[in-house]
């Protein structure tokens, strides 16, 4: 069997888990193995049937008092315990922060290799050898890897495939698995949650006005703020900007910042280094404002204005005001 470890937060399935089920369905077909799922800390009927809609035939559930909320060690041990009992041929999870973390806990506990953020997985003629293509550098570079393992532990690259339900939904069998968990595993269970004010965030904004080193100072972001506010969007920035302390890290777009997906990203004074690009490339459209026509951001953009951003941004704002008047 191929076992997919489902990520959920207090009973709501994460998109990464749906992606893993989709990925897993294809892999299971290739292996000629049934697709099953593991549900940790919940035996919720809705989650079970959702897993079925993605093709999972059996959903194994583990419920225990240390699994009441998320905890990487408790989840990792519960999943490892299920794997010891069920002996799946391979185990998969979504490549989210939690998905990768729980898989690493499983790998440490079972002393098996783990391959994170896979794009393609091929059984290399059996015998415990697998050909894998995976992401490095947050997806800017790919690695073909060879995995030798009697039980591959994998995660699927986050948002590298769209979650798709199975053509024929299965009404899965839910089956409880007894897991005996040491109470000390509670030491890394979530103790508290703080909800901050919700609003448009960088990752959900329909418009992002990006500023890079070319903006020049924290004060010079004011016109970008004004334009973003007018369009119901948010200001984003490059790492050069956060490193200079001009903007908080929560505004940073890129490999070690936020992945943005706006209708349009207006990137001004940003050269478009690969680590920035990887966070910007899912934007539906990109407009670059740069004095350098050769800048990578310009070359990769749909539209560009080759001029000083300090003049262009206010001119755009004025033009919008004029048309709205």
């Amino acid at each position: 069997m191929l076992l997919v470890v489902l990520e959920h937060d207090r009973g709501i399935m994460d998109e990464a888990a749906r992606e893993a089920l989709t990925f897993g369905r294809k892999l299971a077909a290739q292996m000629g193995a049934p697709l099953h799922a593991a549900l940790i800390g919940a035996d919720d009927a809705e989650l079970v049937s959702e897993a079925g809609s993605f093709g999972a035939e059996t959903v194994y559930t583990a419920v225990h008092e240390v699994l009441a909320d998320f905890g990487p060690e408790a989840w990792g041990e519960a999943a490892a315990e299920m794997i010891r009992q069920l002996n799946p041929a391979a185990v998969l999870a979504g490549g989210s922060e939690r998905g990768n973390e729980v898989m690493a806990q499983i790998a440490a506990r079972l002393d098996l290799p783990m391959v994170a953020n896979c794009l393609e997985v091929d059984l290399n003629g059996g015998a415990g050898e697998w050909n894998i293509t995976r992401q490095q550098w947050g997806g800017s570079l790919l690695e073909d890897a060879c995995l030798v393992s009697e039980r591959p532990l994998l995660t699927s690259g986050l948002h590298t495939l769209a979650a798709e339900r199975a053509e024929a939904a299965v009404e899965p069998v839910a089956q409880a698995v007894e897991v005996d968990l040491d109470p000390t595993l509670a030491r890394t269970v979530v103790k508290d949650r703080v909800v901050l004010e919700a609003g448009v965030t960088l990752s959900t904004a329909p418009v992002v006005i990006g500023g890079g080193r070319g903006v020049g100072s924290p004060e010079a972001f004011a016109p970008l703020e004004e334009l973003a506010a007018m369009l119901g969007g948010r200001v984003g920035c490059s790492r050069a900007v956060t490193n200079n302390g001009w903007r908080p890290h929560s505004d940073q777009v890129g490999q070690t910042g936020t992945r943005i997906t706006p209708e349009i990203y207006i990137a001004s004074g940003i050269s478009g280094a690969i680590q920035h690009w990887v966070g910007a490339k899912a934007s539906k459209h990109i407009l670059a404002i740069n004095i350098d026509p050769e800048a990578n951001m310009v070359v990769k953009a749909d539209w560009a204005v080759i001029a000083d951003l300090h003049e262009v941004i206010p001119a755009i704002t004025e033009e919008i005001k004029r048309r709205r008047a």
């Binding site: 937060d9 990487p72 990768n100 973390e101 898989m103 690493a104 790998a107 440490a108 506990r109 098996l112 290799p113 783990m114 994170a116 953020n117 490095q136 550098w137 800017s140 570079l141 790919l142 690695e143 073909d144 890897a145 060879c146 995995l147 030798v148 030491r187 890394t188 979530v190 103790k191 949650r193 703080v194 909800v195 901050l196 369009l231 790492r239 956060t242 908080p248 890290h249 929560s250 940073q252 490999q255 070690t256 209708e263 349009i264 050269s271 280094a273 690969i274 680590q275 459209h285 407009l287 670059a288 990578n296 070359v299 953009a301 539209w303 204005v305 080759i306 001029a307 262009v312 755009i316």
Partner: protein, 258 residues
């Protein structure tokens, strides 16, 4: 507090990542090197914790002899000790890396006593295996949580407690790890300082303890690196001056975002 940070030396590519002819490494012949960003913040966090609570920071790296540069950089921003587990520069898989780091930490702890806190990055910037910190912490019996963007140490609670924050959609979670503990941190936890003149001098004097490791390769091996296929875009130049503004707003109107 005794804190240990694990950092990795990575190339710092610009607009493109080029791969060597054999496909086994990033072509760094024209590139500088850096400490993986999450880990750079890890060092800063450790230094700040010792500034608040007293103690010392040891920085540990596994890599080629040149990785000593990253240890010296850490010393220039306040770390006290540097340890290098030397390799021939080839890519080590996560299991092998974790085994070697575990062995090195065991040795350091046997000599000078346990570390109160082990600090890792959430993931390394280049290979991004998302596991070395978890494997090391598990092998050493320490609790670990990844994705950490805020740390407070309460030294008075029992043997000490690390209160750690992790960002989630629309807020954050709080964890309380009993010390000795481990964390995987992310960039944004702090703003790393720049080296001072005094720091630079200290870094030159840093004595680096060098070790070798005979850790066995794990199950994953690198076959070839390659760039993902990219779609080529024809960029439409809307203008070369602020006079382009009406054309820009036309585009925004077309997209329906005005």
């Amino acid at each position: 507090m005794r804190i240990l940070c694990c950092v990795k030396r990575v190339p710092a590519p610009g607009a493109k990542i080029n791969v060597t002819d054999d496909g086994l490494a990033v072509d760094a012949s024209h590139l500088g090197f850096a400490t993986s960003p999450h880990e750079e913040c890890g060092v800063e966090e450790a230094v700040q914790l010792t500034e608040r609570h007293g103690g010392e920071v040891t920085v540990l790296t596994l890599g080629p002899a040149e990785a000593a540069d990253q240890l010296r950089y850490a010393a220039s921003v306040g770390a006290h000790h540097g340890v290098l587990v030397a390799t021939d520069g080839s890519a080590w898989d996560p299991q092998r890396t974790a085994a070697a780091l575990t062995e090195a930490i065991r040795g350091l702890e046997a000599a000078d006593g346990p570390f109160d806190l082990l600090v890792f990055g959430n993931e390394s910037a280049d290979s991004g295996g998302f596991q070395v910190g978890v494997r090391v912490a598990y092998a050493l019996g320490r609790p670990i949580v990844n994705g950490i963007k805020g740390i407070e140490v309460d030294a008075d609670a029992g043997d000490g407690v690390v209160r750690a924050r992790r960002e989630i959609d629309g807020g954050f979670e709080v964890y309380e790890l009993p010390m000795p503990a481990a964390v995987g941190v992310k960039e944004g936890i702090n703003l790393p300082r720049y080296p001072t003149m005094r720091g630079r001098l200290a870094s030159k004097k840093l004595e680096i303890a060098e070790q070798a490791s005979d850790a066995e390769p794990g199950g994953q091996s690198l076959v070839r690196l390659h760039r993902p296929r990219e779609t080529v875009t024809e960029t439409v130049i809307l203008g070369n001056s602020p006079e382009a503004a009406p054309a820009v707003v036309d585009v925004l109107e077309e997209l329906g975002v005005v």
